[in-house]
């Protein structure tokens, strides 16, 4: 798989509400080869502090070699990234990691996203629609402000969307996983990304009835398989770890030790 270390010009900065931002970048090399759930390592500052790049899954692709990144301000790196202006260059390394695998040829496909975990699922929905598959999308967040723009974007793609918010301000009042029991029994593949407790609940729901892939997020220094900082335990083995950057970020739900 080709990888690039490249400066990409920011062509749009959107503040989607709360602390959530979306950047659109001119990244033709990466856009040409990136697949859903792959990520890029982004330099958030211009100096040595913060030192490390931050991993972001690609949120979507646009015509003209553009990619989008969706993020929330959670620390100093993302706070700096939120100050990015149109016309500025950002240094990206990528695309990195293993992508979601295609769904089986028959059966319905469902995407379950929570919070910023929605980011890679939009790109996956774009890809599925190109292939003539229309996924059912379940999105959850704390509050309506986090979901309004994303709901509209999924609608514009042509996906049926069901929403939930913890505060009840939009859609189902509660957790997105509470929408799972209403799913059709025709669902043959489920893709999920979001907070670990949410993905654990999705994995439990799928059990061995529904094929389930999850995209994980960890701290990582390099994203290249060199720092070995992104280790997670392998189920049933006390002497082995996966590295999220190389073995993942996508795993079969059964390959992960859930809390």
């Amino acid at each position: 798989m080709p990888e690039f270390q490249t400066n990409c010009t920011v062509v749009q900065v959107e503040h989607l509400g709360a602390d959530i931002f979306r950047l659109t970048l001119e990244a033709p090399d990466i856009a040409e080869v990136v697949r859903p759930a792959q990520f890029v390592m982004v330099s958030c500052g211009t100096d040595q502090d913060p030192l490390l790049r931050r991993p972001f899954s690609v949120h979507g692709k646009q015509a003209g070699g553009r990619i989008q990144l969706l993020f929330k301000i959670v620390g100093r790196g993302t706070a700096l990234l939120a100050q990015t202006r149109v016309g500025q260059d950002l240094s990206l390394v990528g695309p990195l990691g293993r992508a979601f695998r295609p769904p089986p040829p028959t059966g319905e496909v469902c995407l379950v996203g929570g919070g910023l975990g929605i980011a890679p699922l939009f790109f996956l929905a774009q890809r599925l629609l190109e292939q003539g598959r229309i996924p059912l999308v379940l999105l959850g967040a704390g509050s309506a402000v986090e979901l309004r723009q994303l709901r509209q974007d999924f609608h514009e793609l042509g996906c049926p969307v069901h929403l939930s918010t913890v505060d009840g301000s939009l859609g189902h009042h509660g957790l997105v996983t509470e929408l799972l029991p209403a799913l059709s029994d025709k669902v043959g593949k489920l893709y999920t990304c979001g907070p670990v407790p949410m993905m654990a609940a999705v994995a439990r729901f799928c059990g061995d009835r529904i094929a389930c892939e999850v995209s994980l997020e960890t701290h990582m220094a390099c994203g290249l398989g060199a720092c070995l900082g992104c280790a997670i335990p392998v189920p049933g083995r006390s002497d082995a770890y996966w590295h999220v950057c190389k073995h993942g970020p996508v795993f079969d739900a059964a390959e992960v030790v859930w809390p």
């Binding site: 798989m1 080709p2 990888e3 690039f4 270390q5 390592m41 330099s43 040595q48 502090d49 913060p50 030192l51 490390l52 790049r53 390394v93 960890t218 701290h219 990582m220 220094a221 390099c222 290249l224 398989g225 060199a226 720092c227 070995l228 900082g229 992104c230 280790a231 997670i232 335990p233 002497d239 082995a240 770890y241």
Partner: protein
Amino acid sequence: MTIYNRADSPDLSVHIGALRLANPVMTASGTFGYGAEFAGLLDLSSLGAIIVKGISLAPRAGNPPPRIVETACGMLNAIGLENVGLERFLKEKMPYLRQCGTPVVVNILGDSVDEYALLATRLAGVEGVAALEVNISCPNVRMGGVAFGAEPQMAAAVVRAVKEQAGQPVIVKLSPNVTDIALMARAVEDAGADALSLINTLIGMAIDIHTRRPKLANRTGGLSGPAIKPIALRMVWQVAQAVSIPVIGIGGIATAEDALEFILAGASAVQVGTANFYNPRATQEVLDGISAYLRQHHEPSLQAIIGGLHG
């Protein structure tokens, strides 16, 4: 006086004992995997040498997560020496490294003197292995876990044992977590080391004040990155004066300017470490910058400026 054409490329070659490198820029162990990890982003054949992730006799799984945490201008790591072990290294990693044509330095680690010696024996005849780098920052299991590199006598014992078996030049990587690094350097030189590399990481800590727990599962970890450069530079300068074998500078080197500081302080070569994580092309940029500096200052060779610090 050397007569040369200003347009000529300066001679960047260096000698580390019997080891001749085309240029002084190497990758620090543990920051460059086994080389292949960077092949998509960097021309590996441009490197002076590739120093691979530390290898032990048996594979090691490493520490539980969290293993890394970012700190001001640096990072802490407690990877726990995770590696594929000697057998898999030789079978799965060396064939690729061999065809890169870049000298390969194998960093070795053990929990006993015998283990170090056995690693040196097994690597002695391996084609493509240009040198060994001995990581003496590991705990000595038989001495209650005190690091080999913390005690001059233990460090010397490891070096003697490795030298007896080694088929290649032996570089010893010094720990900065000692009272007097020059004393350690001399002990290791007296034991037969062909060269020294320094510094390894400084032991540090970070605490999450909300959970009131250490941020690393291992509680403490090794600090690296630009934050440690002034300390590393001071130690390299001290050690270069204390020994007559070549010294390789490591510690927060991210740019050619950083590397040149180490070279002026007496380092014959440098290793780029943590910078590989956030700038996979750092080694290439360091190399290009050293070359540009030599041209700008009308220096015919790198050799001409090693230890060239005034005052």
